[in-house]
């Protein structure tokens, strides 16, 4: 077989090839049960699809041959949705598990993403802290969307901003992830925030 080597010769990036749309990523982060998949589902043109990434135990993340026979591999599920903007442009929304142990996966997902929505639930606010920490650290634009569950106590926005220790430029919105218009408004706020970061002279860092 003719071996193309590490740099594929004919399989070059073909973004210019007609008929191949450009795909854009938005991350939807937050704790378990906060409504990530609900938000994805309320704006996606398809029912949220599920994909999985193999997840090795932390001790086996390093390439080691010893004890490999004991290595148990589990998978972590990610739900994603799609919004076709035009024939040339498609937005993908990825609901990503918020726990710190999945950060290796986030690095991958965050590459080239335009930004992230961090979803919060006032009953379990701490669940979104790792997500906020992550996006603050890698400089990716993000907004916080507080999903207003019916039985959750409502707090004034300034109180929540203080509790989350948000810098003044980070938008915080209240939303109902079940409502298409509400979820849409969150995404619009994120993209506008990303634009203002770009046009405001602030250096924009890609995920890596």
């Amino acid at each position: 077989m003719p071996y193309a080597g590490s740099e594929p010769a004919p399989g070059q990036p073909d973004d210019d090839q007609p008929g191949v749309p450009v795909a854009i990523k938005i991350l939807i982060a937050g704790g378990f049960g906060v409504g990530k998949t609900t938000l994805v589902g309320s704006v996606s043109e398809v029912r949220p699809l599920r994909t999985e990434e193999a997840l090795s135990e932390p001790s086996s993340l390093v390439d080691q041959l010893d004890g490999i026979e004991d290595k148990s591999t589990t998978t972590v599920a990610m739900d994603f949705g799609r919004i076709s903007i035009s024939d040339d442009l498609v937005v993908y929304l990825f609901g990503t598990p918020g726990q710190k142990r999945f950060w290796f996966m986030w690095d991958e997902l965050a590459y080239g993403a335009i930004g992230a929505v961090v979803m919060a639930d006032t009953r379990r606010l701490a669940d979104c802290f790792p997500s906020i920490d992550y996006f603050e650290r890698n400089g990716m634009p993000f907004v916080v969307a507080v999903n207003c569950f019916e039985d959750a106590r409502q707090y004034p926005v300034p109180t929540m901003r203080t509790a989350l220790n948000l810098t003044p430029d980070v938008p915080l919105l209240l939303c109902d992830a079940r409502e298409r218009t509400s979820s849409r408004d969150v995404l619009v706020a994120l993209v506008e925030h990303a634009v203002s970061r770009l046009t405001g002279g602030q250096p924009v860092t890609s995920a890596r």
């Binding site: 590490s6 073909d14 442009l89 993403a113 802290f129 849409r184 619009v188 993209v191 990303a194 634009v195």
Partner: protein, 139 residues
Amino acid sequence: MTTRAGPPGHGELGGRRNRDGSDGAERVVRPYALTAGRTRPSGARIDVVAMVSASRSVRPQGTESDPELGPEHLRLLRFCRLPVSVADLAARLDLPLGVVRILLADLREHDLVYISQTAPAGIRDVRVLKEVADALRRL
């Protein structure tokens, strides 16, 4: 209400969660059996939203005899006759993303697929972002 001081330990995260704290269904699989134990794809990185399309020259009858390609390679190839994202392929084939990446890299080495690069530069393009914002507002 709790306040965020810094990265919290897992212990303070309350609420309902799976045994290991992850989202969604957990199951034990041997996904990398399909990749002959390889855990990393060869060649240039393959993003989760990279668009994959079968090369125009692909003749399925020719690829089936290639000993280096398994049934999963051929299944993948059938799904990317029209451009499709890596994430969509993984969902349709019900395979982990990592496995799909490795199989796609194999197909790329055989010149059977084109895989677009996700440009990190995309996020710097204000015109594209404004187009996205306008389109979202119309949803």
